[in-house]
Amino acid sequence: MEKTFECEAKIENLGKANAFLEETLEEVGCGMKQSMQLSVALEEIFVNIAHYAYAEADSSGNIIPDTGSGRVRLTLVAEDGKVFMTFEDEGVPYNPLEKDDPDVTLSVNDREIGGLGIFMVKKSMDDMKYEHKDGKNILTLMKKL
């Protein structure tokens, strides 16, 4: 089975993207734990794309989140007891797999607020693959059911 959802890469479309995911996972018969992990992964990646993929820079080169606009396409494939979730955008090239992991052993006062999203995705998915092709960021996550 393969299904696609496409929208403007805006935070306010997260609910729609998630409804698309939940609907599809229900059809596939996905368990509660995997369903929540996939939902978290969708949110973290989608929000990142919405904030930064099409963001413009100010005159000194600082990126301003949530500026600019563009599309994001989400494709779900279910086969052989696995779900593949692919995100495609035409924004600035960015490989989230290269991001350093946060130190999750630090005490509460040393922990930084933020930086956890991608880490949670890496920890909960069974495989992740990134490529930049034809001007597109293509990130595919795989979860065994």
Binding site: E43, L106, V108, N109, R111, I113
Partner: protein, 99 residues
């Protein structure tokens, strides 16, 4: 969607959450907590009806924990297996008090 039920008694408050604590709803919880936090010494979060948490929700818990470490205590109750797994993966099980 997130519903927040707040039970306040002097310096003590219980925030019972129902629904999803995500990018869209985390600011609601942040506002609700920050409105009262200056006068609180004992905060509990009841997660019995919390279905989902993402990093946006974790951020609110971490900043609240940082504040409460200076002025009192904070506990989280009735955490589901799915949410607990997220606390484990992110090391939050070690920095939060989970009952």
């Amino acid at each position: 969607m997130l519903n927040i039920n707040i039970l306040k008694d002097g310096g003590k408050a219980v925030f019972a959450l129902e629904g999803r604590l995500d990018t869209s709803t985390a600011p609601q919880l942040e506002d609700a907590v920050n409105k009262d936090i200056a006068e609180l010494t004992d905060i509990s979060f009841d997660f019995a009806n919390l279905e989902y948490i993402s990093s946006a929700g974790l951020r609110v818990l971490l900043s609240t924990q940082k504040t409460m470490n200076k002025q009192g205590k904070m506990v989280i109750k009735n955490v589901s297996e799915e949410v607990l797994e997220i606390f484990d993966v992110t090391g939050f099980s070690d920095i939060l008090t989970i009952e």
